[in-house]
């Protein structure tokens, strides 16, 4: 939490309305996201109970399990969800486009899908649910005892893929609505209260004639706004328990079907409010313009998607129960890189995010007061001269400049241009004059004059920061060259019969 968001929170607590934290949306929001509102049976490890799912706000598909203790019924649920989700995934694969990876000799042309699936769930627990349901289904056997339909393990592999990517902040394939909304708005309540979808949306989009603070309190009543799941409301569970008992004890098929329909109705009633909130959230997020780096990140998602789809066709082994060490280390390194890059990209795309770094002294903004476009300095080779223009930035009197001489900085206005701080002078009025030496970003020119627009003009307001959105990822040794101190590299994962043989009691 930054001081800027504290100010936003304070302001929201006074006005009773959420305050924006961003000026753009930093996540891709697909034209056709797949919304999933799941419920599970209390007390069990991932016993699917019901879901509303689909891509059409007006027509969700209702999936229910009328007796979740029945193993076969659980997998029928998975089968029905697979029918919906796998069709959606296949629909994303119809069109491809070429792209290049690597540079120079290693340059390679590949194909990636023009679309990738995007799965939206109400909250962070929804992401955990996707992970667990993936684990429950991906290791199932399709023959032998307790065989499940072919689509069930495939669903499991895809759900696991979604959940694995959800940990990466720069990926948009599986997102929780509460997190999306809380990233863009500050409410006048605590972050733990913000994890409640109905009350979070009440702050952002209060009903007419009410304010966010009041509406959020009202939204906490589970009788009016059932929990967004996957956990159910214990009071509702009493009703459900009674119905399920009647379902089990029904004397004939007709009676059972009647109770079954009632169960469906009750479950649907628990999920419909959340379903509507999900789409309201989508509408609100769509109103925000997209950040400049968002399409690039989505292109990367599309690449991961294409590669995983190809892998499933070629190999198809499910993800292991636990990552083996090499894979885990690589994943962690990738995760750290992704966090750093994402944070920098966000700041470059969004002045309100950059302001957080200005406040901490990792960025500063000033007006160009002077420039030296014909400056040369001695190069590395003896006797050589290289073109290194300078600009001088004058900051306001209340701006913090904590960066030392010699620091490498960049500006979102010209991200391809390297800059180095040559001098920081404190002026009489308390402001700073910062002299920056520039390199590159002159449209490949090596001598003056600088092509128009490539060298900042006097009077231009610029922000410089130590953040670098194009920082190179950290390099790890190849798998075969990874040093092992504990008896050599672990074997890669091979599915065993035991994986599928889980006792069900």
């Amino acid at each position: 939490m930054s001081v800027l968001s504290t100010v936003a929170t304070l302001t929201a607590s006074r006005t009773g309305r959420a305050e924006p934290l961003t000026t753009v949306r930093h996540q891709h929001l697909d034209e056709k996201p797949f919304v999933l509102v799941p419920l599970t049976l209390a007390g069990e490890a991932c016993a699917p109970l019901a879901a509303l799912a689909g891509t059409d706000p007006e027509h969700p598909t209702l999936l229910t399990v009328r007796q979740p203790r029945n193993r076969a019924e659980r997998f029928r649920f998975a089968e029905r969800l697979a029918a919906l989700l796998l069709a959606y995934i296949d629909g994303c694969r119809t069109e491809t486009e070429p792209y290049t990876v690597g540079r120079g000799k290693e340059k390679e042309e590949r194909l990636r899908c023009r679309r990738a699936p995007q799965l939206l769930v109400p909250n962070g627990e929804g992401i955990s649910y996707v992970r667990l349901l993936g684990r429950l289904t991906r290791l199932r056997a399709t023959e032998g005892p307790y065989a499940v339909d072919q689509s069930v393990p495939t669903l499991g592999k895809w759900l696991t893929w979604f959940a694995d990517l959800a940990e990466f902040p720069d990926s948009g394939v599986l997102l929780a609505m509460t997190r999306l909304l809380a990233a863009n708005w500050a409410t006048g309540q605590s972050s733990s209260e913000d994890s409640h979808l109905a009350s979070l949306l009440a702050w952002i989009d209060p009903p007419e004639g009410s304010d966010g603070a009041r509406a959020a309190r009202e939204a906490e009543d589970p009788a009016v706004w059932p929990p967004a799941g996957p956990s159910t409301d214990p009071v509702f569970d009493r009703t459900l328990h009674e119905l399920m008992t009647r379902y089990d004890e029904a004397s004939d098929g007709r009676g059972r079907e009647a109770v079954g329909r009632q169960i469906d109705r009750e479950l649907s009633g628990q999920m419909l409010p959340t379903w509507r909130l999900m789409w309201r959230g989508v509408e609100l997020l769509r109103e925000l313009p997209e950040g400049a780096h968002v399409p690039g990140r989505w292109a990367l998602d599309r690449r991961w998607f294409s590669e995983y789809a190809e892998y499933l066709e070629a190999d198809g082994r499910p993800q292991a129960r636990r990552d083996q060490a090499v894979r885990a280390a690589r994943r962690l390194a990738r995760l750290e890189d992704a966090v750093t890059r994402y944070e920098a990209q966000r700041a470059y795309d969004d002045p309100l995010v950059m302001a957080e770094y200005e406040l901490t002294g990792e960025a500063f903004t000033g007006t160009v007061t002077a420039r030296d476009g014909d400056r040369f300095i001695p190069g590395e080779r003896p006797g050589s001269q290289v073109w290194r223009p300078t600009i001088t930035l004058r900051t306001g009197t209340d701006v913090r400049v904590d960066l030392a001489v010699g620091t490498e900085v960049k500006s979102p206005a010209r991200p391809g241009q390297e800059a180095r701080i040559l001098e920081v002078r404190r002026e009489d009025d308390g402001g700073h004059a910062v002299v920056l030496q520039l390199k590159g970003g002159f449209a490949r020119k090596r001598t003056p004059p600088a092509p128009p627009g490539t060298l900042a003009e006097a009077g231009e307001e610029l922000t410089y920061t130590t953040l670098n959105p194009t920082a190179m990822p950290s390099a790890l040794p190849d798998e075969e060259n990874t040093p092992w101190t504990h008896g050599g590299p672990p074997q890669s994962y091979e599915p065993t019969d035991e994986d599928a043989e889980e006792t069900w009691e």
Binding site: M1, T6, V7, R14, S190, L240, D350, E502, W504
Partner: protein, 372 residues
């Protein structure tokens, strides 16, 4: 130093509670109390044994806690499964985890002593059995629902771990049975952490029992056995979990808790927490006890929503979470902070730095929002 009271402290707390029988302390309550040691309100309510759910309801705040019949049934089924056949499954896990040489074990049921379920009797019998087996004379391996005591905020808490095994490799182990699943060897970390804190309460109580009996405390393991269902099945899975950190933290927090009767002594003579009395009477007594509300209270305290409204009313920064509170050092109200932002009030010397930073942030927010 609080003044000596004219009557036994227990009486004061009992009078506050009224005629209803006291609610016992549980390990869960103790961990909740130590999670928020600054909360005098909770300390007194728990020490007096007040039914907090009923109390909250009486003052207009229906608590949103409750257990689903499904969760309850599952929990019972799993407990039953672990205990079935004289703890056959538990003995299997002990063999796996602790290499216990025996194939079977005796179980002593301490849910009652000769048909009597009185707490003090069960406690005395537990103590006697512990002393007996600690001396190495008995083959008995598992105590089912032993009863231990611990001093909490000046009150005696009676505690019942699920099971206590004796002398495996010379050590006593506490066993807790939980119905959250361990999937691929990993259970929900929040649930495990909460269980570990509760286990630490039991282990500490066991230390007290050993101390009182003059037994060597080295016989108590600093690990406890957590038993939970394996993957998506009902099959028990067990792992030993180290408790040293939790034990240190708990000991420290318990030592910081103020004696509940000292806190209660500050209430007026007429104060009452009797749930049968009028809402006004109870409310004014509750208000006289200082609460220390934080948003995390909502997840474990029945009175949390009452305290939250109170915190809203006095604009306490803590109600917005620790992030906001940390950004407002020395500023005890969000209204004051907003006044500094608006420039309608001037911060004092101690608040100046925080106020300056807030103003700089507000200025940047205005500028950069406009820039977009």
């Amino acid at each position: 130093m609080p003044s000596q009271q004219s009557e036994p402290p227990d009486n004061r707390l009992a009078r506050l509670r009224g005629p209803k029988p006291p609610q016992p302390y549980t390990a869960r309550k103790i961990t909740a109390l130590t999670a928020n040691p600054a909360c005098a309100r909770r300390a007194v309510l728990d020490a007096a044994g007040v039914d907090k759910a009923l109390l909250a309801q009486q003052v207009g705040y229906e608590p949103r806690f409750g257990q689903s019949p499904f969760a309850l049934a599952r929990e019972q089924a799993f407990h039953g499964h672990v205990k079935w056949g004289s703890y056959a499954e538990l003995i299997r896990l002990l063999r796996e985890q602790l290499s216990v040489p025996v194939a079977e074990a005796h179980v002593t049921d301490l849910n009652e002593v000769g048909g009597n379920t009185a707490l003090h009797l069960r406690e005395r019998e537990t103590r006697r059995l512990i002393a007996h087996v600690a001396s190495g004379q008995d083959v008995r391996l598992i105590l089912d629902r032993p009863l231990l005591t611990l001093e909490v905020a000046g009150q005696t808490a009676y505690l019942e771990p699920d099971a206590l095994t004796h002398r495996i490799g010379g050590k006593f182990h506490v066993v807790l049975i939980r119905s959250f699943a361990a999937i691929d060897g990993q259970a929900n970390p929040t649930a495990v952490a909460e269980t570990a804190k509760q286990a630490a309460v039991y282990v500490l109580a066991l230390h007290r029992a050993f101390e009182t009996a003059g037994l060597p405390a080295e016989q108590i393991s600093h690990e406890f056995l957590l038993v939970c269902p394996k993957d998506f099945s009902n099959r028990p899975y067990g792992r030993l979990i180290d408790l040293r950190q939790e034990l240190d933290a708990l000991q420290f927090q318990l030592s910081r808790l103020r004696r509940a009767e000292d806190l209660a002594a500050q209430l007026p003579e007429t104060a009452t927490l009797d749930t049968a009395r009028s809402a006004d009477e109870i409310s004014s007594s509750i208000e006289a006890l200082d609460a220390s509300y934080t948003p995390s209270c909502l997840s474990f305290c029945e009175m949390a929503r009452y305290c939250r409204d109170e915190a809203d009313e006095c604009a306490s920064p803590a109600r917005l979470g620790s992030g906001v509170r940390n950004d407002l050092p020395g500023i005890d109200s969000t209204r004051t902070a907003l006044d500094y932002l608006d420039g309608v009030a001037a911060p004092g010397e101690a608040e100046a730095e925080a106020a300056d930073l807030l103003r700089a942030a507000a200025r940047l927010r205005r500028l950069r929002r406009g820039a977009a």
